[in-house]
């Protein structure tokens, strides 16, 4: 990669790279999920097949990052036809390559469309992708994350070139404000407004920070972007730095994403070598550099002041934000902190203009950046849904469309119970919210929040009380422990919920839970504490019946709360096949071959293995 001396060089290189387009392109996805399912062996197989076929240059193999459809990773796609092979075996690779060279497909490897039963041939007709609007995430299909050339080839860094050559910082800020882009970290603060106040703030030395802590359990959209398309984040940060007048940038990646750290560091080095970072970027005199900081494993460091404290080398302890970080952030200097996805949106807004951006999403942002939720949002659709993965949808889409159309409905035909959005700071929405358009204000209205895009679908087998308890025990570990309400309040709330789950609930516990939740949310120092009660409050609001079942009838309808469930075998249905007997970890089941078996209640740890493994669902749980 040669050093780009001026803004024009980007466009010239892009054209040059696109000149010799190979006739056939074979893509193999190797995200984290892919690697764990043998993506490496698959890539080798395809490579050897290509070598054997001797394609003399007009076929190219591209190993991409995560393509979002985690269920069936690794994926092989043959272009330009677009044949879509979900999770092929390494030894099928040879056949795929031969047919691909001839422009033909291997039908036996296609997946079946569950509702129509017909095989799905190409990418465009994969239901999971069809309903999405992959503005940001789409680029992952065309990029090898370790090569900056790929990124430039698809138009990367032209936004930066355009900004440095034609636009003034004020112009950039105006464009971003008019686009109505709001923070993808979860609070949804209009990015343009943030940049404007940071630019106004006094102080020569300013910073831009990329919050890649993504501590929300169940959310991994940022990981997909960082590992799939690191350069888009770098370009976004460079433009942001130019706009607010910052010279230093920090990317704070959580320690649980080692691959993301590695790929981002490589990308930064490549960008420096290419003259897109460091001194005199593209000959424009603008100097900006990026440091990669690894988080230490603390959810609280997702909060802006805690994150900055961590970069400053201290523990992640938030401070009162009466003086906003745009005025006094990192080392008391003005700092603009945005989420990975927010930064990734910036190049698109610059390239295609604010007007284009406002066409996607809800509300009217002319004149009032808070007026609506514009652009797309990447959700991590997980939990009890058939197709799990990263889903990029326009703001305003309904939950039902995401879960059922894209997600393919609830797994093994169970009944939908609820969906959790916004991580531990969000809430659980029930059936009646399925037609709620997803945007910042609507979700907050319903008691949840957008958060970092986690969307955990739950079915009848999930107990809402236990789910609330899970979130509180998570927060109990992750609270920084500085302020009394969060440190003490969360523990006591979790204790009450544990009592409820163990059937030891006392009179008035629910009311106490309500009062305590309100105090914790209103008096805590930072957003972690302030939003900690959301899961409890929303489950209390929308699933009151389950709470009553636990408290009054000492029953757990979903059979999750062990203390309240007992397992017994229905003698009529039991065929004595012995599967449960074999799998029971604490050998609490007794019975002769072919005779109805029996569970010894005292030894049974209620782990539910028998219930799952019994094919004749002879195991009754109540």
């Amino acid at each position: 990669m040669i050093r780009l001396a001026d803004c024009g060089a980007v466009g010239r290189l892009c054209a040059e790279l696109n000149r010799d387009k190979p006739k056939i392109e074979i893509l193999v996805s190797r995200g984290t999920c892919g690697t764990s399912r043998g993506a490496d062996r698959l890539v080798e197989a395809v490579q050897t097949a290509l070598n054997k076929a001797g394609t003399n240059g007009n076929v190219r193999l591209r190993v991409t990052g995560c393509l979002g459809y985690c269920d069936i990773e690794p994926i092989v796609i043959v272009r330009p036809a677009g044949f879509f092979y979900p999770q092929p075996k390494p030894d099928d690779a040879a056949e795929i390559v031969q047919q691909g060279l001839l422009g033909k497909s291997v039908p036996r490897l296609f997946m079946e469309d569950p509702n129509t039963g017909k095989p799905i041939e190409t990418v465009s007709d994969v239901p999971f992708y069809k309903h999405q609007n992959r503005v940001i995430f789409g680029a992952n299909f065309d990029l090898d994350p370790t090569s900056i050339d790929d990124f430039v080839r698809i138009g990367g860094y032209q936004a930066l070139a355009k900004v440095l050559s034609e636009m003034t910082p004020e112009k950039v800020i105006d464009e971003v404000t008019r686009s109505g882009l709001r923070g993808r970290g979860g609070a949804g603060f209009p990015t343009g407004v943030k940049w404007a106040s940071c630019r106004k703030a006094k102080g020569q030395l300013k910073y831009v920070v990329c919050n890649a802590d993504e501590g929300d359990p169940g959310a991994y959209a940022n990981r997909g972007l960082l590992e799939g398309n690191p350069h888009s984040v770098i370009e976004g940060m460079a433009i942001g730095a130019w706009a607010v007048g910052a010279s230093q940038g920090y990317v704070y990646v959580r320690t649980e994403y080692p691959l993301a750290v590695e790929l981002m560091s490589r990308a930064v080095q490549e960008a420096r070598a290419a003259g897109l970072l460091g001194k005199n970027i593209l000959g424009s005199g603008f100097a900006f550099d990026i440091h990669i900081n690894r988080g230490g494993g603390a959810f609280v460091c997702g909060e802006s002041t805690a994150l900055m404290a961590s970069i400053e080398g201290h523990v992640g302890e938030p401070r009162a934000k009466h003086i906003h970080t745009v005025e006094s952030g990192l080392w008391q200097a003005p700092t603009t902190l945005n989420n990975v996805e927010t930064w990734a949106n910036i190049p698109h807004i610059i390239n295609r203009g604010a007007q284009w951006f406002t066409q996607i999403g809800t509300g009217d942002v002319t004149g009032n950046p808070w007026g609506g939720s514009k652009g797309t949002k990447i959700f991590s659709l997980v939990g009890k849904v058939n197709h799990t993965g990263l889903v990029e949808v326009p703001m305003g889409i309904t939950l039902r469309k995401v879960i059922f159309d894209i997600g393919g409905g609830i797994k093994n035909g169970k009944k939908f119970k609820g969906v959790q959005t916004g991580g531990p700071s969000g809430g659980v929405l029930s059936e009646k919210h399925l037609d709620l358009p997803i945007d910042y204000d609507e979700l907050v209205e319903a008691g949840s929040m957008m958060g970092s895009g986690g969307m955990i679908v739950m079915d009848e087998d999930n107990c809402m009380v236990d789910f609330a308890r899970f979130f509180l025990s998570f927060l109990e570990d992750e609270s920084c422990g500085k302020c009394t309400p969060c440190r003490e309040g969360v523990v006591q709330m979790r204790q009450i919920l544990t009592d409820i789950c163990q059937g030891k609930a006392k009179e008035g516990d629910i009311e106490l839970l309500h009062d305590l939740a309100e105090v914790v949310s209103e008096s805590s120092l930072c957003q972690l504490g302030a939003t900690a009660p959301n899961p409890v409050l929303t489950t209390l609001a929308y699933f009151k019946d389950e709470y009553d079942a636990h408290v009054r009838d000492h029953k757990c309808p979903a059979g999750v709360c062990k203390a309240l469930t007992t397992y017994r075998i229905d003698w009529e249905a039991c065929t004595g096949c012995g599967v449960c007997f074999k799998n029971c970890p604490s050998d609490a089941i007794r019975g002769e071959k072919k005779q109805p078996h029996e569970i010894q209640v005292d030894r049974c740890t209620k782990c539910g293995v028998c219930y799952d493994s019994c094919k004749f669902n002879a195991v009754r749980r109540n």
Partner: protein
């Protein structure tokens, strides 16, 4: 040198009986007459009295004496008196000499003969000495109008007030932080049982406010030079660290000072670098040198050390704290705050069970319990043979594949049913690191 003719008058005093009771004044007088240049010798009961002095004045006129010798008490007592008498009579006050035949003769020798003998010799000496006296003029020096009072107890206060009231400037030097001396410590005073503070404090305040008194507390006189009327005193003001002119005495600082006890240094402690083995030191230095230029790189250095050693050995933390000049207590808090760090050695292989929401919903708890039962350790512990460390993580970011277990670098999806199979595989042939 030629001897001039002198006309000397000698006067021998009886001093009541103080001299005459052991000295035979007549013989002494008679002897005096035999001395050279002696023109008149008189003896009188009280030379220092008015008539005694009158005798001298008359003789000076009458016999125009050029020298006078008075033999009586100690010059320390009446030299001044007789010099004035000579001066009144027109004779230069320094043409006069006394001889001490009382304190150093009559009072201290019982033997009348020997005492008289000694008196004669003393007078002879005085007469011979006065021969060579020359006229001298007294010198005068101006007197500096200020006064210095050393010590701010009740006596010093009284003196300072009296002088200041007379309109003179007083420097009152007190070595303690406040005037008042010992009396300020008394409760009552005898015999009237007055309360000491009630009678002393008004005077102290008066001193504090008196325009003529410059109070110099917490100070001491280190040097005094010069002579009566023209002393130059050097005063050292010990640093009080509080500006007296600004302080309002509100006591806020005393109330808020957090130190309650005398700070005492701990026993000398071995330097951090001595606690490290050479090999550990090299590794620690590599981590430190990489980030030394950054601002307060505690977290990043600890990340590298956690990687290099597999955990954070306490001696290394002490070394890092010293090298980065960050208090050990802060480094320790960082080391125990972030879950990525461990203070105890970890096993060869790290098993991480994801407890994130997605994995939880798909039964992560059961998988954790199964592994715990199998390895007989709970989350956060390491097997006795140091082969495996079991940890829980709150989200690994591979939620689609939930429930997920990561063994060293390998991500594994685990279905609750076959968790035992997974554990067997891990225990028997662990994945190469």
């Amino acid at each position: 040198m030629i001897r001039q003719e002198q006309r000397i008058g000698v006067y021998v005093c009886h001093c009541g009986t103080n001299i005459s009771h052991t000295i035979d004044v007549e013989t002494v007088a008679k002897f005096a007459e035999t001395l050279p240049d002696v023109v008149i010798v008189r003896e009188y009961k009280y030379m220092c009295s008015k008539p005694g002095q009158e005798l001298i004045r008359q003789d000076i006129d009458e016999y125009n004496l050029t020298r006078v010798v008075v033999s009586s008490c100690s010059p320390l007592m009446h030299e001044e008196t007789f010099r004035n008498t000579c001066e009144d009579a027109g004779l230069n006050r320094f043409l006069f000499q006394m001889s001490n035949i009382r304190e150093q003769c009559s009072w201290v020798h019982g033997d009348r003969k020997k005492a008289t003998e000694k008196a004669k010799r003393l007078i002879a000496a005085a007469v011979k000495r006065v021969h060579h006296h020359g006229a001298l003029e007294q010198r005068h020096a101006p007197v500096n109008p200020n006064a210095l009072v050393i010590g701010g107890g009740i006596a010093g206060i009284e003196a300072a007030l009296k002088i200041a009231e007379a309109g003179r400037k007083v420097y009152l030097v007190e070595k303690e932080p406040s005037i008042g001396g010992h009396m300020a410590k008394f409760d009552k005073t005898f015999p009237t049982l007055d309360c000491a503070a009630c009678i002393l404090t008004p005077k102290m305040v008066q001193v504090g406010q008196h325009p003529n008194i410059e109070m110099m507390t917490y100070s001491e006189v280190t040097e005094v030079s010069g002579y009566v009327g023209n002393f130059k005193a050097t005063i050292r003001h010990k640093p009080r660290f509080v500006d007296e002119t600004k302080c309002t005495g509100c006591g806020q600082c005393v109330e808020r000072c957090p130190v309650q006890f005398r700070p005492v240094d701990g026993h000398p402690v071995r330097r951090p670098e001595d606690l490290l083995s050479a090999e550990m030191k090299i590794q620690a230095d590599t981590a430190l040198d990489e980030h030394r230029h950054e601002r307060n790189p505690v977290v990043t250095v600890l990340q590298d050390i956690n990687q290099l050693f597999g955990y954070l050995p306490p001696p290394v933390l002490k070394y890092v704290s010293a090298q980065l000049k960050v208090p050990l207590s802060e480094v320790y808090h960082v080391a125990t705050f972030y879950t990525a760090f461990s203070l105890v050695p970890r096993g060869e292989h790290i098993i991480k069970v994801c407890m994130g929401t997605a994995c939880h919903v798909r039964g992560a708890q059961r998988i954790l319990e199964a592994i715990e039962n199998r390895l007989e350790i709970t989350a956060g512990q390491t097997t006795k043979d140091m082969k495996f460390t079991l940890e829980t993580v709150n989200c690994l970011g591979a939620c689609a594949m939930g429930p997920v277990v990561v063994v060293d670098k390998e991500y594994v999806t685990v279905i609750p049913k076959d968790v035992n199979r997974l554990v067997d595989r891990i225990v028997h042939e662990p994945v190469p690191v």
